[in-house]
């Protein structure tokens, strides 16, 4: 089924299948005041999804349950609650192997429990989309926002995007399918956001028309055969590579891993096109740049406003895509910066490490401030760290011992 032939026709719930570029860029938008979870539901309503598999874990449970309502309304082919995140991600894989467009959501410990599946998804070239509403993963138990889990996803071979706002979420869920289902990509996408800050707060989001949807997934554009017995099976090999300790076996496995990462690279051009660049830069000529992803970008903007009152000029680089990694963009955006501040909602500062590994003179990078375990990041603490870095005496902030 070629995509072009279905545009303008209706799907089984009466939505008109739209040209995805026109739907995302030209169709009328209606402002709505929704929580992030409701926005996920509204994006999936328009995504022409075949299968969604759910499992409860805070803070993604509401979104996962709302998509169940979409199933009840007929918007999704099948939906069920799996038994654990490991199983859910395998069930998603089974559905994707069978040629379905698949969606799921998870968070924190769920992401970690499911981890074995993610390199398998990438290696099997399954373009599953998984929303990750990040939360704490360490003991003692925390359900609060914390982005540490993203660092574990970075080397799975999945595409990894980090949404800042509910509007990003709405647009990127739909655009994400367009990128990850490209034949030269065909990889899973982890679309991450900071739990609660995005999922449980309300925001004005401009929605595309509810009677328009994406074209259906065409599994026969996949670079690997769809497991539906609609194309001739072949005996793949006489001697399974797993049994062989020889050069051919190693070369086969090595070349496939290289191919997965080459596919991540090939997604770059599609990502740039659909997300209008992998980074968003505001005031790159400033001496001091905040480079951040997720809601740390929003807090960075607030810090910029705070510091402007003191006459300190700040630029902001919002990193949208973590895989593929916008190496060139970050080098370009930071080339004039004397100080690069990387505020993060996690204890290890994985984004700062990525940036340090990317740019010349990495001593310019200040990894911090870091908040974790659900702590908020008031703009004042970013401002205070920047002042400290510049040798300006800052007012003491309660609880920070400064």
């Amino acid at each position: 089924m070629a995509t072009q032939t279905v545009i303008g026709t209706q799907n089984k719930v009466g939505q008109t299948i739209a040209d995805p570029w026109k739907m995302m860029h030209e169709a009328d938008r209606t402002p709505c005041f929704f929580t992030g979870s409701e926005v996920i539901k509204e994006a999936i309503r328009r995504a022409n999804c075949d299968v969604m598999i759910a499992y409860p874990i805070t803070p993604q449970s509401e979104a996962a349950a709302l998509i169940g309502e979409l199933f009840a309304e007929g918007y999704i082919g099948d939906y069920f609650r799996g038994e654990s995140e490991f199983a859910v991600m395998s069930e998603c894989a089974g559905a994707a192997f069978g040629g379905a467009r698949v969606f799921t959501t998870t968070a924190g410990p769920g992401t970690m429990r499911a981890m074995e599946n993610f390199p398998m998804w990438a290696g099997a070239r399954l373009p599953i989309q998984m929303i990750v509403t990040c939360r704490g993963i360490n003991s003692p138990l925390s359900i609060q926002p914390d982005t540490l889990e993203i660092s574990y996803l970075l080397n799975t071979g999945m595409l990894v995007w980090h949404a800042e706002t509910a509007q990003d979420f709405f647009d990127w869920i739909l655009k994400g399918y367009m990128v990850s289902e490209e034949p030269d990509v065909h990889l899973p996408l982890a679309l991450c956001c900071d739990g609660f800050f995005v999922t449980h707060t309300k925001d004005v989001v401009n929605l595309t028309p509810a009677d328009m949807c994406l074209p259906p997934y065409d599994p026969y554009r996949s670079p690997v055969p769809c497991m539906d017995m609609e194309c001739p099976p072949v005996r793949m090999m006489r001697d399974p590579f797993v049994m062989k300790s020889n050069y051919i076996s190693y070369a086969t496995h090595a070349s496939w891993q290289q191919e997965v990462w080459a596919a991540v690279e090939r997604s770059r051009k599609h990502t740039i096109r659909w997300l209008d660049g992998m980074v968003e830069v505001d005031n790159p000529d400033a001496d001091i740049l905040i480079v951040a992803s997720g809601t740390a970008v929003s807090q960075g903007r607030e810090a910029k406003a705070v510091l402007e009152e003191d006459g300190i000029d700040l630029g902001i680089v919002k990193v949208k895509s973590l895989r593929p990694w916008p190496e060139e963009e970050i080098r370009e955006a930071t080339k004039h910066a004397k100080h690069i501040i990387v505020p993060e909602f996690n204890v290890t500062g994985w984004l700062a490490k990525e940036i340090r590994a990317t740019i010349p003179n990495p001593d310019r990078v200040y990894a911090g401030p870091h908040v974790c375990g659900g702590m908020t990041m008031p703009p004042e603490i970013i401002a205070a760290d920047i002042k400290k870095l510049l040798g300006i005496k800052a007012e003491s902030l309660a609880g920070r011992g400064s």
Binding site: G77, D78, A95, N117, M229, M236
Partner: protein, 302 residues
């Protein structure tokens, strides 16, 4: 999939691999519902070579099962890590290996996707995994698929240990057996999965060996028909690891025969739900009718 799909254009025929030519010319693909173990050796099989040990009963089981699939042109198999995963790359039906132990979860998603994409069409899903995958690491997903009444067949090749990793203790191992990771003998009983399967909602459950090809054919077909129409089915087949129990290549068959005696652990046991009984009776009646008609037609021709 229609058999037309695998036809080779006449101009291309001579350059296709001989195995593919053979598959198109002499497979039992189009002979839906009337295939069986007696086709072995007379027509192109879905498996010929394997990379298992010489004399491994699992290789016999594979051949009987593949010869008995009622609709191979619309069957997708799901495997797991282990000796079975060394065979699947040779099998001429679509098959999925993803991780160790998640086979019933994969099959759940797969079956549902195929049902969404091909409503009203036969698309059989068959899981085939070892006892470690089915009963130990994957037990949660094995049972949950049954609780959910997922419509596919689960086959467990029970060799009572982890064969591929070198003979470690498994849940289906007999109590007292000394093995790697059970240095003083296994301390608890063989897990009673067939009974658990019945209680978990399987509609057709059989525990047996693969010593008799006609029996394997019957239970495979029954299990697939019931799964297709009603709900989950489970087959536990004894495929002894001759290597790990100290037998020679030619002794696998005798080992199975010894283990299926009425007092032994692989004595034939079957559970069929009332709903499944009705279906199987109906199918048997139709088959009888078909055979009678064929006989009549043959007599007419003569």
């Amino acid at each position: 999939m229609s058999k037309e799909r695998i036809k080779i254009a006449p101009e291309m025929f001579d350059i296709m691999p001989s195995e593919y030519q053979d598959l198109v010319e002499r497979a039992t693909y189009g002979n839906e519902n009337h295939r069986g173990w007696k086709d072995i050796g007379t027509s192109k099989e879905l498996i010929e070579e394997h990379s298992l040990c010489a004399g491994c009963p699992e290789s016999m089981a594979f051949r009987y099962i593949l010869a008995s699939l009622p609709a191979p042109a619309d069957t997708v198999m799901v495997g797991s890590t282990g000796c079975t995963s060394l065979v699947f790359p040779h099998v001429a039906v679509h098959n999925i290996h993803s991780l160790f132990g998640n086979q019933n979860a994969i099959a759940s998603g797969l079956k549902r996707a195929l049902s969404v994409r091909f409503p009203g069409q036969v698309k059989d899903v068959v899981v085939l995994a070892g006892d470690g995958a089915t009963v130990d690491i994957g037990l949660d997903m094995t049972l949950q698929a049954w609780f959910r009444q997922e419509k596919f067949t689960t086959i467990c090749f029970d060799n009572e240990l982890y064969a591929n990793t070198g003979g470690q203790e498994s849940g289906l191992m007999q109590k007292g057996f000394v093995a790697k990771m059970a240095p003083v003998g296994k301390t608890f009983e063989k897990v009673r999965l067939p009974e658990i399967a019945r209680e978990s909602g399987c509609h057709y459950v059989v525990n047996c060996t693969v010593s008799k090809p006609n029996l394997v054919e019957k239970v495979i077909k029954n299990a697939i028909y019931v799964a297709r129409e009603i709900g989950p089915t489970y087959l536990q087949l004894y495929t002894p690891c001759i290597l790990e129990i100290g037998k020679n290549s030619m002794e696998g068959l005798q080992e199975m025969r010894d283990s299926e005696k009425p007092t032994e652990r692989f004595a034939y046991k079957e559970y069929v739900s009332d709903h499944a009984k009705e279906l199987l009776t109906e199918i048997a009646a139709k088959e009888k009718e078909r055979k009678a008609a064929a006989k009549k037609q043959l007599a007419g021709k003569a």
